[in-house]
Amino acid sequence: MTKCTEDNKPIMVGDRTIPPPDARYITISIMGQPYEVPETLTILKAMEFVGYQFTRGCGCRGGICGACGTFYRIEGDHALQTGLACQTVVEPGMILAQVPFFPSNRASELDLETKMPADQQIATMYPEIFRCVGCGTCTRTCPMDIDVMGYIAHFKRGDIMGGAENSFDCIMCGLCAARCPANISQFNVAMTARRIASARLTPKSECTAARAEQVRSGRYEPMLAELCEMSKEDLKTLYVEREREPDLAKPGEWMPEDQTKL
């Protein structure tokens, strides 16, 4: 539903966009058409404000899922800018369009059992990384400020772990791939590398495997059943009075007095 403010501008109220009553209106352009929208809105909300509905090109609205990566320009400025539509606040003169999806190359099968060295595996799955001319457009594009060219450089020289670590903050928005002159889908290469790094290059934790085995063996089933039988009050008491590891205890040194449940 819509209602009118004092200066007769319609605003949408309801579950999404509630601009402050005294919000100033600014002019932006969406796909070539001028619109007036209240300042303080994000790109995503501004576009919804004027009537666009998104089923693609939007997601968590919290700046972490990477679905709403977007390009924009400000009128009069040559620079193509990038951001997440759910995090970037609209400015006067913004030229907008939402990118629903960008075609990218994702190698279909990832064999984590292979004996092939990790760097060769990446090179075989994504040989296009060697087309990189080092222009750095990807790094300048990344809305998460990741050195994309840098991690591709790591893969090229066989340092899969280094590239996996340096790409860790990637939210898979794909804007790097949209701009790459060498047609590399950097974010997919990085995801594959992180999978290889964690499955094949990271030392296995023996205690985690042992604990998983304990869980599978059914050791904790009776304890869980016992908890399920308890009254809400007893459960609260048990929780509040539980033994807790002191905040500054040295790792691996503290043990509870009651060790029967370990």
């Binding site: 990189c132 001319v133 080092g134 222009c135 750095g136 020289r157 066989g158």
Partner: protein
């Protein structure tokens, strides 16, 4: 030459971290003995490996510029001479020619800077390790540091192409009658075997598509060196090393030639210094050079 050990920004390039580990490690170990430190750039990308063949292809200069600007920042921050040392001659060639291109044409630098959104001022001088030994350390000083009697070794200096050509842009030595590796080997005290094929092409990347042709080219070079009495060959180029060394598996082509080890010049320098060569990957060479050193009584293993 300066008395205090210098820390020189160092650009390794991809090959030094993969196929040419022995080159890098021997070079670093030797630098420590000589008294300088190769200080690897923190962030670096591939240099592009080949310099663009068209004059207006500035895209090919973006990768080397990213490296040069990183080096420039480092030098300015640490207030050291704006040098960047390299080992791989592909990297040397690409970076050096980029340096030359920007020196000749500031407009090119401005365009690339604008594209990259970076500010490379054009101050970096790209130096090859061999060039550093010659011009800063001095081969005569190097000669005084040699611990092993190298006079037993008959070594052929093999230059290939990229260390020297194009001369106008690289300017390291005469491209057809070079002496820098000769003088280096002299300083080590080796018997230097001057041979006609020293600047012939090894076939370079042709090895990917036409390994037979590269076998033939490698054979011509090695047979020539052999004819002039060499028992080993030194080079500064990872691709020459790989082609000349690996081609010798072609038993048909090499039927009448005994295996000849092909060394990086720094691997031989390490032997001359009497260093422990265990980490220098000699065992990964197709033609194992270790028997040569053992037969000649070098005790590098025992150090």
């Amino acid at each position: 030459m300066s008395d205090k050990p210098a820390r020189i920004p160092y650009y390794p390039g991809c090959t030094m971290k993969t196929k040419a580990l022995g080159f890098e490690r021997s070079a670093m170990d030797c630098a420590e003995i000589i008294g300088f430190e190769m200080d690897e750039l923190k962030d670096w990308n591939c240099c592009g490996a080949s310099y663009p063949l068209t004059k207006d292809n500035l895209m090919g200069l973006t990768a080397p510029t990213n490296i040069l600007v990183e080096a420039e920042r480092r030098c300015q921050k640490e207030e050291v001479d704006p040098n960047l040392i390299t080992l791989c001659v592909f990297c040397y060639n690409t970076l050096k020619r980029t340096e030359y291109a920007f020196g000749q044409d500031k407009k090119k630098l401005e365009t690339v800077n604008a594209f990259l959104d970076r500010k490379y001022e054009g101050s970096i001088r790209v130096v090859h390790y061999l060039e550093y030994l010659r011009d800063v350390i001095g081969f005569d000083n190097l000669a005084k540091m040699i611990k092993t009697d190298m006079s037993k070794y008959k070594v052929a200096p093999y230059y290939g192409c990229l260390l020297l050509k194009p001369q106008k842009e690289i300017g390291l030595d005469d491209p057809e009658d070079p002496v820098i590796l000769h003088n280096f080997l002299d300083a080590l005290g080796c018997k230097v075997v001057d041979f006609p094929a020293q600047v012939d092409c090894c076939g370079s990347y042709l090895v990917m598509r036409e390994p037979k042709k590269v076998s033939k080219l490698s054979y011509d070079i090695l047979a020539d060196a052999n004819e002039y009495g060499a028992e080993t060959l030194v080079t500064a180029c990872p691709l020459c090393q790989s082609n000349l060394d690996q081609s010798q598996s072609d038993k048909v082509q090499f039927a009448d030639l005994d295996g000849m080890p092909v060394l990086y010049f720094t691997q031989l320098l390490a032997v001359a210094f009497g260093l422990d060569t265990k980490t220098h990957k000699l065992e990964e060479h197709n033609i194992d050079p270790r028997p040569l050193f053992e037969a000649n009584g070098s005790d590098s293993e025992s150090k």
